[in-house]
């Protein structure tokens, strides 16, 4: 950063304050408080990539009610911190996923649903699919084809525990 005239007298206050703020946020116990807060405000972006989306929808519906664990599907990627990859990822869609992921603010997390997201599952020799870990880093995998809504809720709870342990 270029040193301005007044900075030469007082030192770089901006940088100094920034360092203090970062130190406070990233050291315990404030970091713990922050992680606790994040873990109960997971807002997944609405990006349905394939057919596991049906069970994702069912998990938010009254029988299973995933929203009681503290997460709510939300519209714009700019205000979300979780992306749920629902099943297989085609080459065309992979670009869109990457674009969405890069637009999300930090910290951000990824849940990958279904066998297709792990190793392409039943479509293991398809010409138009990519594996999810080649596109975005994944925090939690959920097996199943499609996974049951209970499994999806459990994956959210697992992710929350992971965040509380320190991301």
């Amino acid at each position: 950063m270029r040193v301005k005239e007044e900075q030469s007298l007082t030192g770089n206050i901006y940088n100094f304050v920034r360092k203090i703020v970062l130190w406070i946020i990233f050291k315990t116990p404030l970091k713990r408080l922050r992680n606790w807060g994040i873990s109960y405000s997971l807002w997944p972006v609405h990006l349905t990539t394939a057919c596991c989306g049906c069970e994702f929808g069912a998990s938010s519906a009254p029988r299973f009610d995933a929203e009681r664990t503290g997460y709510l599907p939300f519209v714009g990627p700019r205000q979300t911190n979780l992306i749920v990859i629902e099943g297989s990822l085609s080459k065309k869609m992979a670009n869109a996923v990457r674009l969405t992921y890069e637009q999300m603010p930090n910290p951000k997390y990824v849940i990958a649903l279904g066998a297709c997201a792990i190793d392409l599952g039943i479509f293991y020799d398809s010409y138009n699919l990519v594996r999810v870990d080649e596109v975005v880093p994944v925090d939690v995998y959920v097996p199943g084809c499609p996974p049951r809504p209970e499994a999806i809720i459990r994956s959210v709870v697992m992710l929350q525990r992971k965040i509380r342990r320190g991301g």
């Binding site: 065309k92 020799d125 398809s126 010409y127």
Partner: protein
């Protein structure tokens, strides 16, 4: 549908389209017409006037050994309930190296997306089709079209 009605339709069609095309009965509700590519539109028009008003499927089958691609239009009717019990296959063979066929968009607008898909996945170019562009595959797809037999999946 009983066999009498099929044979009545069969006789009507036979007198209408011969000698440009050959017709035969496969089963009690399946008919098949084979013709050449340049007669295709003519036959299609005759069939449309007879009452077949939409296309259910455009199936392209690749035969690399015989160096041909077979294109089948599955045709039926919504308006005429007697004809809707029949599925008629209109079949034509084209050269595999050139892969050019004639579009039936002017006769049946319902072929539009089916033919576009065939162009995209099998690489058959339909002349006079309003939009011969990529539909399903990425726009920059350069490889052999996937439904061709020489496109191998990695095991």
């Amino acid at each position: 549908m009983n066999i009498d009605e099929v044979s009545r339709v069969f006789k009507d069609l036979k007198s209408m389209i011969e000698p440009e095309a050959q017709i035969s009965i496969l089963s009690s509700n399946r008919l098949i017409i084979t013709t050449s590519t340049d007669k295709l539109e003519l036959i299609a028009n005759l069939l449309k006037n007879y009452g077949f008003d939409h296309v259910k499927s455009v199936t392209a089958i690749d035969y690399p050994m015989k160096n041909i691609i077979e294109i089948s239009y599955l045709i039926s009717s919504f308006n005429n309930l007697n004809l809707s019990k029949i599925i008629l296959t209109l079949k034509t063979l084209i050269d595999r190296n050139k892969s050019i066929s004639k579009s039936l968009y002017k006769v049946w607008p319902s072929v539009e997306f089916l033919e576009r898909e065939t162009y995209d996945l099998m690489g058959v170019f339909f002349e006079e089709h309003p939009e011969n562009t990529s539909l399903i595959l990425p726009e920059d797809y350069k490889d052999i079209r996937p439904l061709r037999k020489d496109f191998k999946l990695i095991k």
